[in-house]
């Protein structure tokens, strides 16, 4: 009887773990292949949600994995976007190939992430959130006011479309696949990191920083690493955004963007990389689904955020305890019984 239940449970889990993600990826990948009304609009909306999955994965490293509360993630997004725009547009008349430019954009964002992380290593919780919020606003205002360099509120126009080995990404459909390809790569890499020594160090740090420090984890090092990786991912997202839109303005990176990304991470389930996908789809697509309600959509969106948090404060997919913790417990029980 017990065995049967266990098998059922295992089956259940394997369905959830393996078949569901496969199903979701097939659905996502095949959407542009069908024809349906307003197809281009929907490809754009879902592609946009995909962009937010990338950003959400970046913030997930900060907030979900390392436990560093970040309210200014749009800053890294902006740095990535502007770096790419500088490197591949008529603005400075530089045209660097896409793959190199996007890596430089991510690298610059990571560098800035490390630089702002160093002075605030000691800060925790809400205070860190407020510093990063301030940082995000400073970046946006600098972009706005350093007009000689960034062209101020006029923004940067005619940014190059990505060109990978001669293939030019011109339509939204190509960006759609580019974005979800990157999502897949990031998910794979993040999975590897989460299950590595680094991931376990982050987990320990997130649960209790002092205990982690006393267990011999170099907290400063892992914090800097988390900030750099998260910022790098944010920078990649920014570069894709600017190449997709073709023109960027400082107001693309205001505080609402940071808050939206944070909502995605928390709604999806804090610390769960698959939750980010669900969160981004819900949050970015929802206002568009609600578009039929035109004027009322934002008020309903606000209301849904509150209701969602009250009903499911852990998010859609709460993070499960890692496997090695689970296995250890039943064995101990057996020893006591025998």
């Amino acid at each position: 009887m017990k065995n049967k239940a266990m098998i059922l449970e295992k089956l259940d889990r394997s369905i959830l773990r393996k078949i569901l993600p496969a199903l979701i990826s097939i659905v996502i990948l095949s959407i542009p292949l069908f024809t349906f009304p307003q197809k281009n609009l929907w490809v754009r909306i879902i592609g946009y949600a995909g962009l937010y999955i990338i950003l959400g994965l970046g913030l997930l490293v900060h907030v979900g994995l390392a436990g560093m509360f970040d309210l200014g993630f749009a800053a890294f997004y902006a740095i990535g976007a502007y770096s790419y725009a500088f490197l591949a547009s008529p603005h400075f008349d530089i045209h660097i190939p896409f793959l190199i430019a996007i890596l430089i954009a991510g690298g610059l964002a990571a560098l800035v992430g490390v630089l702002i992380c160093i002075p605030v290593l000691k800060l925790r919780g809400d205070y860190l959130g407020i510093v990063t919020l301030g940082f995000g606003e400073i970046v946006r205002m600098l972009l706005m006011n350093l007009s000689d360099f960034t062209n101020g509120s006029q923004g940067i126009m005619q940014i190059d479309k990505p060109n990978i080995f001669g293939f030019v990404f011109k339509e939204s459909v190509y960006f759609y696949y580019l974005i979800f390809g990157l999502v897949a790569i990031l998910l794979f890499l993040l999975n590897r990191i989460i299950n590595s020594r680094t991931g376990r160090a982050w987990l320990a740090m997130r649960e209790d920083e002092d205990v982690a420090q006393m267990s011999g984890i170099d907290v400063s090092k892992y914090k800097l690493l988390a900030f750099a990786i998260g910022a790098f991912i944010g920078g990649l997202g920014g570069a894709i955004f600017s190449s997709w839109q073709g023109s960027i303005f400082p107001d693309n990176f205001n505080m609402n963007v940071s808050i939206n990304i944070l909502c995605i991470v928390i709604l999806g389930g804090l610390g769960n990389q698959y939750g980010v996908i669900l969160g981004a789809m819900a949050l970015i697509a929802l206002p568009d689904i609600l578009r039929g309600l035109s004027d009322y959509r934002m008020i309903i969106f606000g209301l849904l955020l509150i209701i969602m948090m009250i009903l499911k404060p852990q998010g859609f997919l709460p993070r499960k305890a890692p496997q090695y913790e689970k296995k250890a417990l039943p064995d101990k029980g057996k020893e006591v019984q025998s």
């Binding site: 205002m141 944070l262 008020i299 606000g302």
Partner: protein, 336 residues
Amino acid sequence: MQKLIEQLINGLTVGSFYALIALGYTMVYGVLSMINFAHGDIFMVGAYWGCFTISKLSDIGLTESNPALAIIIALIAGAFGSAITGIIVERLAYRPLRNASRLATLISAIGTSIFLEELVRLVPTFGSFIASIHFGDKNLFPESWSTAIIDATKTFGGAMVKTYPGILGTEGITVGGIVISYSRIMIMTVAVVFMILLYMLVRLTKTGKAMRAVSEDQETAALMGINVNKIISNTFFIGSALAGVAGVMMGLFYLQIRPLMGFTPGIKAFTAAVVGGIGNIPGAMLGGYLLGLIEVISVQFLPAIYKDIVAFVVLIIMLIVKPTGILGNSGGKSKL
């Protein structure tokens, strides 16, 4: 020298707004250890209630015959409008999440913030919707009621900028060649009066004592027979009422209000609360005035567009140098 003093007075005026709003942040943080992200919007709701009241008073001519009384009535209306909003927000959006993670509360607060902004924007839409409810051929409300509802909701909110009737004027008194307008005097006086009242309330009354107890240790306070929920409600009432007062005064001073007006003052007031030491009431007042002064002085040396950056730079330097704020203490002492 003359210019410097003028700027100082300007800084104290702006600082009064920041200080009043910062008090709400700090009190809520004191009792609940949470950042009330919707506080800026509660402030905005107060400004709208004040605007509504003063427009109605101006219709009956009170702003002409007795402007002081009109201002007092508007301040009270704004304070109560905000306070009731604050209590409802706490009851519906924060209380169910009191034992959830901080981030869940934060998201709920962000949702509340969006909801309040949109609500104020959509009030006229809701008004005409309610007025047009009908069963078959019969309207729910008689004709005169419907027009009254539509009129009132149109006066109250909407997507467009609302304008306060300019009753404060630009006259003032001249002291040694420096003109201090009555509006500035009014704002600074009202702010100081409310802060003294608040300080007395927290220090001298039984409710204040209970609030301090809850801020120190919620469970022990509950064991001592303090109704924690009631005290938290009271805290939201008082903090929001102060924000409402600030909202009405800001409307009277700058004349224009809009649904998204709460964001920037809200963030700056939060900065003020952190600079003074979050959870600390005198700290919030000090931080508010300090931030106002720093902002005004910085404008002397930098282009005005950097005014908003200055606040954040101050915040970041403060947090790096002394994260607990000027008057904050990390020890076990009461936070209020």
